[in-house]
Structure formats: C-alpha cells, structure tokens
Symmetry: C2
Subunit: 299 residues, 2 copies
C-alpha cells in the first residue's frame, strides 16, 4: 500500500520507519531531507504535487500552525475527491475543525491523529488518538496499526477530537514531569541525608511502587548519566499545547491548578535558569522528545 508522507523531521522519520517495517511504500516529501538510512521502500519526491500524483493517502507530519495550514491548503488544491489526509502533528483542535471543513468542500477527508511516544515510539510504537469521520477511520486502520504500539490506537470522536485529547494528554504530561522534578529536587538538596542516590531511588520506585511510570524510567536514565546536572541550564522549553490546555480549561471553567503552576515554573525557568528540578524536566524532555537542553558555559 502506498502512503504519502509530508515532513521528515524527528517524528516524520520515526513514522517512516514504522510504515516501512510494516510493508508500506512511502512517497515522501521534505524540502530538507532526501535520505533516511534505516528506512526501506521510500521515494523522495521534490514537491507536494509529485506526492499527490502517486498516492491519495497523505500523512502530514509538520510543525503545528502556519506550516500545517499551508500544506493542507496546497493539498486541497492538488488532491482528487475521496483522498484522505491525516494530520499527525500537534495542531490546535479548532484549526483542525476548520481544515476539515475546507477539505470537505472538495470531498477530501481529514483525520486528525494525536501522536504520543516521542522518539522512543520509533521502536515501541505510538499511542494514537484519532478524530474525524468514523467510516474513514475504519478504512484506514491498517495505517494506524502500523504506526501504533500494540493496541495503541483508538477512535476518539468527530473532527478535532484526536488533537483535543492529545492536547490534554500534553497538559497532564507537563504536570507529571514537574511532580517528579519537585520530589527529586528535595531528595537532592535536603540537609538530612546527603548523597541520596537518585538513580537507585528511581530504580527502586520502578519496581512495585505506586508512582512507577515511563517518565520515571526516563528519570532513572537521566540520573544514570548524571546526578549533578551542573553543566546544563534549567531553562525549560515548551510547545503550545500546555497553554492551549489551560486556556481551554479556563474557558470551560475547569480548574487545572497544577498545570497552571507547571507552566509558570517553565516561564520562570527561562528567565532565571531554573533549579535542579527544572533541570530534571529539561533532561526528561530531551530524553523523550529530543528537545534541546542548553549547556552552561563556565568561565
């Protein structure tokens, strides 16, 4: 089965890898990428137009916002009726609904797919939250199955529901990261027990404790490399999904106090360079998403 893939960044390449391992033929386009070492059965096209000449099912994996907008608009002009576009990025659900309507005018179908799992998902498979027309989802299950972890994909609801659920997933993620970070900050900097071994503690908690999780596995991996984190900044970056979640919660009169604090802490961390806890968050974001960690340059 042929599938178009627009965007070959970190996540796009991981998607290509999983599709290729599951015997899809990939028709790819990214103006900056014309080779991926570990993906077979892929052709690199030089334009969107070239992709749409060869397949009418297109996975879009580009940054949220204007770039996604432009790709969707171009596809609306290039694709034939009954084509299917899947937006696997972190688009705002309101934008997704607009794009769904735009494509619907041309009788082109848009599915939205929230994609969680970070760079490790390349091997483990992803958790996929899908929105759009149920019938179109049913007809494209094979694609999601290839990309997802075993049992890791489900239909969430009408257009935008996939991105909506992913947005809230990310909101929860912000608070979870900060929750662990606060605890490790106290463990590291308490005056009662010096030199508590944060790797050993993470490892102990991973086996049988109430707070075991994949994020805790990443904590262990961070502390395995470095428990001091002296050479990095505690400045934490972010994409927009956390703020969107909080804004949506405020609109709906739902209290998300932990998320609000977690976002404030990130803002502060970028102004002050943060503390040991925010360094842990920065390292965790690097571990799961490959997000940059700023190095401190010592005089």
């Amino acid at each position: 089965m042929k599938i178009g893939l627009i965007g070959l960044g970190k996540m796009g390449q991981a998607i290509a890898y999983r599709l290729s391992k599951n015997n899809f033929e990939i028709i790819a386009f990214d103006p900056k990428v014309s080779q991926i070492d570990d993906v077979e059965n892929i052709s690199f096209e030089s334009s969107l137009n070239d992709v749409t000449q060869k397949t009418n099912i297109i996975w879009v994996m580009v940054p949220a916002g204007d770039i996604t907008d432009n790709v969707i608009k171009d596809l609306s002009k290039l694709l034939k009726p009954e084509s299917i576009v899947i937006d696997g990025g972190n688009s705002n659900f309101e934008n997704t609904k607009k794009r769904y309507s735009l494509l619907k005018e041309k009788n082109i179908h848009l599915l939205d797919c929230g994609t969680s799992g970070g760079i490790a998902g390349k091997i483990n498979g992803y958790s996929l939250m899908i929105g759009g027309d149920k019938e179109i989802f049913e007809n494209t299950k094979k694609i999601f199955k290839a990309i997802a972890a075993p049992n890791g994909f489900n239909y969430m609801g009408p257009s935008g529901a996939g991105h909506y659920v992913k947005m809230i997933h990310n909101g929860i993620e912000y608070s979870l990261l900060q929750s662990y970070a606060e605890g490790f900050d106290l463990l590291k900097n308490n005056s009662n027990y010096e030199n508590l071994d944060l790797e050993k503690i993470s490892d102990t908690w991973l086996h049988g404790s109430v707070i075991r999780s994949w994020i805790l596995e990443l904590c262990k991996s961070v502390f395995n490399q470095d428990q001091e984190l002296k050479s990095i900044s505690g400045s934490i970056g972010e994409n927009q999904t956390g703020r969107w979640t909080l804004k949506e919660a405020e609109k709906e009169n739902i209290s998300m106090k932990l998320l609000k604090e977690a976002l404030n802490i990130r803002t502060e961390s970028r102004q002050t360079g943060g503390n040991f806890g925010t360094k842990v968050v920065a390292m965790l974001r690097n571990k799961f998403g490959g997000h940059e960690v700023k190095k401190l340059i010592k005089n």
Copy 2:
C-alpha cells in the same frame, strides 16, 4: 526462618502473604485478628511478649504515630540484644531516628522500610526503601527480597532514610494523582466533544504514550466500572506524608508548588465535596490503597 509480624491490617496481611509464600514462618500479633485465610505457616499470638519469646526479628506494620511509638517502646523492653526490628509503616523519619537511638541503647537494631505498592503489592510485590545500619540490612536481605517486587528493594542510607524517601515518594504521588485528575475533569466536562470515552482514552494512553503509568492503569480500571461517578463524594482523605513532605521542602527552601496545590485541593474537597477530578483521585486511592470512598445518599 521465623519472623515476628506486629499488625495485621490490610498491609500487614499482604506482608504475611508474601512472607508465607516465600517459606517464612510467621509469628503474628494483632489484638483484632486471629485468622487469615490465604496465609499458611502462621501462628497467632496473644501478646507482643509471646512473639518476642519465639523470634528476635520483628516486622512492625502498624499505623504511624503513637501506636508505632508504643510498639517500639514495648519491644525495647522485651527483645534481647542483637534483635532486629523493621518498621515497614509510614513513620515520620524524625521519629524513626529517635526510635533507632532508643533501641540502640539496648543494642537492638532498627531498620526503617518505606513500603509502596498498595494492596496490589500482595501479588506484585512491593517497592521497599530501606534505612538503618548497612550491615543489618545486608543480613536481612532475604526478608526484603521476599516482600519486594523483583528488584524492588534497596538500601537508601542511615536511619530514617527509608522513611524519608518514602515520604517524598508519597508527596510525588499526591501531585501525580491530581495531574491525571485535572486532565480527566476537562475531558469529561468540556463542551466541544461530548461523551469522550475516558476508559478508551486511558487505554489508548497506556499503549505507547509519554504519560503511561501504573496510576493510569488504575484510571482505566476506575472508568471501566463507572465514568460518571455520580454516586460518590469527591472528598479526598489523606495520611500525613504529603503535609510532611511540603513542610520539609519549606524547611529546606525547596519549592514544591504542585504538591502545595494538590494538598489545598484535598482540603477544599473535604469542605465542598469536590468535583469530578477529586472524585477520580478518591477512586484511585481506593484502588491502590483500599481507602474509603464516601457514598452520596440521594433523597
């Protein structure tokens, strides 16, 4: 090998079960319990004195505070030198240090053991964080191995370190529970997508997402039974460990803003009956710890 076990509540019975499965002979005392159906190789004694006549290694699994204090004081009078007492409860680490010194005067050894895993630990095994004299820990590893999940026990440091690490574990747990609860509250009560399936969402997230965890498994189990939670109160109980953690953080000048919010939300929930999110937390506490959930009585 014979081991004394003082306290046969939910957690004490689970410890007895694991010891029994691992071929320990249990000399038990709890004034309220004289039978446990699924534990073999156990004798029920009628006093602490009877227990100390039969073994000089005693696991104490009673509520933190005065009860633990009384048991330790009594044991200090009854046990011979070189006996070993293990406090597996949620004692405050400062009290543990005092009890350690008290017993040390009689040349009796106290290990503190933070025990995480809730009622599910009976089958899965526990995560054990152990403090005290390293040599005594080394000599009693067999006991911890029997109770722990595979690879789920480690030495943390001198007396109180086990309870200290467990206290902070609980502080993290408070924030993690509230993090998920906020997200599910918005998913449940948003006006964009009605009737999002919280069980299906939990299940999708469990397979490959960044936020997969054991607590999320419990969320799925809660929503499998009931996604409305109309018949229960959102009042969340607590033990003291969360407050201890926050107090300790403030003493050490470490910011734990998420924990502070999570604790405030619990206090408010007991005054107001809470919201959907706090109902989720109450149900999660019931799932992992067997803690009571208040039923609402409708007119």
